[in-house]
Every structure is written in C-alpha cells, then in structure tokens.
C-alpha cells in the first residue's frame, strides 16, 4: 500500500470508528457485565442470553415463537415477492399488453410513494377482512408493499437479456414458456438471488407493520419482541437488549456472508456486440 494514502485512511478510520465502536460494544456487552455509562467490561457471562432458554418476564413470550414467526414472515413474503416479480417483470419487459404504460408508471409512483401513510387504511381493511392481528395479514401487506420495487428490479434484469436469445429459442422450436424457464431465467438468476435476499432481509427487519397491524403476542416477530423489552420496563437491561439484538442480527450477517458470492456471480454473455 503506498505511503501517501495515509491521509485518506486516517479520514476513513475517523469516520468509521463510531460505527465500529457501536458494533463492537453490542457484541462485548452481550457477553459481559458492564456498568451503565462505563466502557470497561467487568466479567464474561452468558447470563444475558437467558432469553434463549427461559421466558423473560418483560418480553411476555418465548423468543423462539417470535423467531419462528419472523422466519415465516420473511420467507413467505420473500418467496411471494420473488415469484410475482419474476413473472410480472417479464411481462412488463417483453410482452405487449394493454395498459402496459399505465402499469409501468404505476410501479414508479408506488415505488416512490410513502406507503406508511396508507397504514390507517390498511388497518381498516385488515380489520374488515378479519386479518388484523394475524401473521397472514402482515405478510399480505408486506408483500404488497415490496412488490413495486421487486417487479421494477426484475424488469431491469430482464431488459438486459438480449432479445435474440429468446428469438433463437423460439426458432429452436421451444414454446415461450420453455424459453422463459430454460433460457431467460438463468440469465436473470443474479437478479433473482438479489431479490430473494433483499426481500427476505427487508421482511426480517420489518418493524412498523407488525407493530401496528399485529400487536398481539401470537403474531409477534423479533423486532416487536425487541421493542417490548424496553417499552414495557422502567428499568432497562441494556445487556439483555444487546444480546437479543445480536441474536436478531446474526442471521442477517450470515446471509450476507453466504450470498455475497452469488451476488457477484454474473454470467459472461455469449453475445458480443
């Protein structure tokens, strides 16, 4: 590394340091006792992870139920978002159907729309449908709100697939569906992986929708579990809070580490311009 880079490195270090300290202390404090206001840990302990094996009074419920709920919530909405985006994005990119321009414009508007302003209306609709305070209700809402972005991303990926590849497939005697499945989908696989990952993580970290639309303990997810730890208590246990936070964040980190490779794996094309 050239020596003259040190001013940049110094600047970056100074800017990054607060973040690093925060991350570092959420790990350190989760495994140790530290007096509030102090930065020096006193002893190593796993006591703050007691929520894993015994119910914590403040949380009113098991972390495992919340984890399962979060997993079902994030997975289902990610799968539905991905499947709908895969087909809708293809249609918008390739097929000439009535009101295509309207749908495209609608996507962009919805994408830029502050959807949280709809929360009252959504609340009323869910109540009418009897889906208020259920996991399904939150999944439906979350999926619907994620769709515009997902469809838009997939349309962008489909747009990069050369038209000739599809035409070649059709000439080779394959139906449009076969062409889509065997020839086009593999080309947009990087986008597909990115979208699954993105919508799963988005579901995993969603807080407002479950908080407002499913406040009961049956449909509790990890974010609302975490918030109930501090909301319900006057005497905050910061170490417990950080331990739960660490537990909540670990899958995200793991997923990033696992899928990074897939995201980088972009195919070299056979089409030379």
């Amino acid at each position: 590394m050239p020596a003259k880079n040190w001013p940049i490195l110094l600047l970056l270090t100074v800017v990054t340091l607060p973040l690093l300290i925060m991350c570092g202390y959420s790990v350190i404090d989760a495994f140790t006792d530290t007096a509030p206001g102090s930065l020096v840990p006193t002893r190593f302990t796993l006591e703050h992870f007691r929520f894993l094996w015994e119910p914590v009074a403040e949380a009113r419920g098991s972390i495992w139920v919340a984890t399962a709920n979060t997993f079902v919530f994030a997975t289902t909405s990610a799968l539905v978002v991905t499947m709908v985006s895969l087909t809708a994005g293809y249609a918008l990119s390739r097929l000439n159907f009535p009101a295509r321009g309207f749908f495209l414009a609608g996507l962009i508007v919805l994408h830029a729309f502050p959807t949280i302003t709809l929360i009252i209306a959504i609340f009323l609709i869910l109540q009418m449908l009897g889906l208020y305070d259920t996991l399904i209700g939150v999944i439906v809402v979350k999926t619907a709100l994620e769709l515009p972005l997902g469809i838009w991303i997939m349309k962008g990926f489909y747009d990069t697939v050369p038209w000739e590849i599809e035409m070649a497939g059709v000439q080779d005697g394959a139906s449009r569906a076969t062409v889509w499945w065997y020839l086009v989908l593999p080309q947009v696989q990087p986008g597909l992986m990115a979208l699954i990952l993105f919508s799963f993580l988005s579901g995993w970290s969603e807080y407002i929708l479950p908080q407002v639309l499913a406040p009961g303990s049956d449909a509790r997810v990890l974010s609302t579990y975490l918030s109930s730890l501090i909301l319900d208590d006057t005497k905050a246990d910061f170490n417990l809070f950080k331990a739960v936070g660490l537990f909540y964040a670990t899958p995200v980190v793991v997923i990033y580490l696992l899928f990074q490779k897939h995201l980088m794996n972009i195919y070299g094309g056979g089409t030379k311009g």
């Binding site: 050369p162 000739e164 070649a168 497939g169 000439q171 005697g173 394959a174 056979g270």
Partner: protein, 332 residues
C-alpha cells in the same frame, strides 16, 4: 425444399416497409438478400422465420402455406448476427437444445451433437461456454445449433458482420461448404456485395422495400437492370459519366457506366486525363483519372505500371462493356 414468398407486404404501424414482394428460392439453392441499411432485407428474413407476422401475402414452404404458423412449427434454422448463443450453457448444451425441445432420446441426441460438431469442426470445444470462445468459434456453434434439427431452410442474418477481416474470409467459404454438404436451401442477409457474390447462387438486390433485381451474381454484374444495381455491385465501384466525357452521343442515354476494369491503356488512347488518386492494393493498383470534362473514371491495373499521382494519361474504354442507362436509371 422450395420456398415461395408471394405478394408479401409488411407494415410497422402506418409505415409500409415492404410492399407486394415476391421471391422464389429453389431447393438446394443459396440466395442472398442484398441491399443497403433499411431496405427491408432483415424484415423479410424475420418474416420467413416467423419472428415478424406477415401482414399480407403467402409464404409457401414446399407448396404449403405457412404464413400463419408460429415460428416453432416452421422448421427453419436461423443464425443471428450476434449468434445468440445461450451463455449459461456449454457448447454441447447449446447445440442439443433444439433436440431436447423435440424430446429426442438421449443416445440419438448425443450422436447428432457429435455429428454436427464435427461438421462445423468444434468437436474439441464441446465443454466450453460461449464466453470462452472466439468470434469464429461462436459462429460455428450457432451454425451447428441451427443445423442440428435438420431444418428445411437455413437463414443467416448478417452472419459475418461481427468477425474480423481474416475470419470473415474463412467463414465465408465455411458457410458455403456447409450449405453445399448438407444440401440445404439457404438465405443469406447481407449488406456486403462481396459476401453475396462469393457465397450465393443468386442475389436478390433490394432497395426501399422492393427487389430491384434477382439474378445470378455474374448476370447481375454484367447486365444490371438499373443504375442502382450497377452502382451497388462491383468493388471498386463503377463510375457513371455523361456521354460528352466519353465523346459519345446517343439518343435516350442519360449516363454511361464504366467498370474500373473496362478503362485503361489496353483499350486505346482516346481519353485524356490526369491521375488524381492512386491506391496500391498489392497485386493491383487503383487509379482515379479526372478527364478533361471534369468527370472521374476509375481504373484498375496490374501493379507495376509506374504511373504516379498527377501524371497525365491517355487511356481508352472497352466499348462493348459500356453500360447505358436512360433518364430513369433503366439500362438500355
């Protein structure tokens, strides 16, 4: 198989791209659709393979009208300009794809892939992916994939446009060899007259959505029906000039066409001019000669004539090779 396109019309929105065009290709023949950009040659090709709908007219494959059949039901092999190989598949998977679609059994499939890979000489590359191949090799894969399903027709859309000059020469004879070995009826779309003349039995020269002449390369070169045809074919190109420049005056003749090989010292010394441009091509030299009337004639001569820029020359034209055109550009 015989191909007949009868009174074919194609419109995009309100624009008529091709109007009332008819074209017949005999069985086993290779023809070129030649013409400048935007003349409708690719549109015609895509109409034949079914990518574009035929608005009016008939398309007969061996006497059967297929104009309303989808691409999948037409059994036409197409090689696209950019090859359109499937980038996520190996060479072998690319070639076998049409057979998989037909649900041919595995042993037959593999035998066919081997046979056609050998035919186009890529049998050593079957496990590679398209991105690992050179342009010429990708072209060969595209050819194998088009041929493996034993199509009734082979359509080639500017197949050599993306290759460098040396490969282009090689693939030119290679494609012709494959076409002759398989006995396929083939249509080549190109804007390069050299490709069309060297590869094809007949050339359909198109301009503005119409076929202006459909003939063998030799006939078209020697007996062009219009000044456009004469100007389009031939490299270096033909020169056009008025009668006064040549010292000729004939009724109805608006312009004369003189091919570069029909002007030079071997045809007498009736025309005087100054050399304004010399291009050395190795075996031959190309000269531009400005006549006293100000008109320019091109001449191609064997190298070593010693004639240099700004020299004055007295050369003649071969009168029996003169092409005469009337005011509408029709040859007389």
């Amino acid at each position: 198989m015989q191909l007949d396109l009868i009174n074919f019309t194609k419109r995009f929105g309100d624009t008529t791209v091709i109007e009332n065009m008819s074209l017949s290709v005999h069985s086993g023949e290779m023809i070129a659709l030649l013409g400048p950009s935007g003349c409708g040659k690719s549109t015609t090709l895509f109409a034949i393979c079914g990518i574009h709908r035929i608005d009016e007219g008939q398309l007969m494959f061996g006497g059967k009208d297929v104009a309303h059949l989808p691409s999948q039901a037409r059994n036409v092999g197409v090689v696209f300009q950019n090859y359109a190989l499937y980038p996520h598949m190996t060479v072998a998977e690319n070639i076998v794809f049409p057979l998989k679609v037909q649900k041919m059994n595995r042993t037959d499939r593999e035998a066919m892939v081997r046979k056609y890979a050998e035919l186009v000489r890529i049998d050593a590359l079957l496990d590679r992916r398209p991105a690992q191949l050179s342009g010429g090799q990708q072209q060969r894969v595209a050819l194998a994939r088009a041929l493996v399903r034993q199509p009734d027709f082979l359509l080639l859309d500017e197949p050599l446009a993306n290759l460098d000059a040396k490969l282009r020469l090689e693939m030119r004879s290679e494609i012709r060899r494959l076409q002759q070995e398989t006995g396929l009826t083939a249509i080549l779309v190109t804007h390069d007259q050299v490709e069309a003349m060297s590869m094809c039995d007949r050339i359909a020269l198109m301009n503005g959505g119409r076929i202006v002449q459909y003939d063998t390369p030799t006939a078209m070169y020697e007996r062009p029906e219009t000044a456009f045809v004469a100007g389009f074919l031939g490299n270096p190109p033909i020169s056009f000039l008025s009668g006064s420049g040549l010292g000729l005056s004939e009724a109805q003749v608006a312009q004369y066409g003189v091919r570069p090989e029909s002007f030079g010292p071997q045809f007498g010394s009736t025309l005087s001019g100054r050399v304004t441009f010399v291009e050395t091509q190795g075996r031959e030299d190309l000269f531009d000669v400005r006549l006293t009337t100000g008109e320019i004639l091109r001449s191609i001569q064997p190298a070593g004539s010693g004639i240099r820029l700004a020299d004055t020359v007295n050369w003649g034209v071969a009168h029996d090779k003169l092409l005469r055109f009337d005011q509408n550009g029709q040859r007389i």
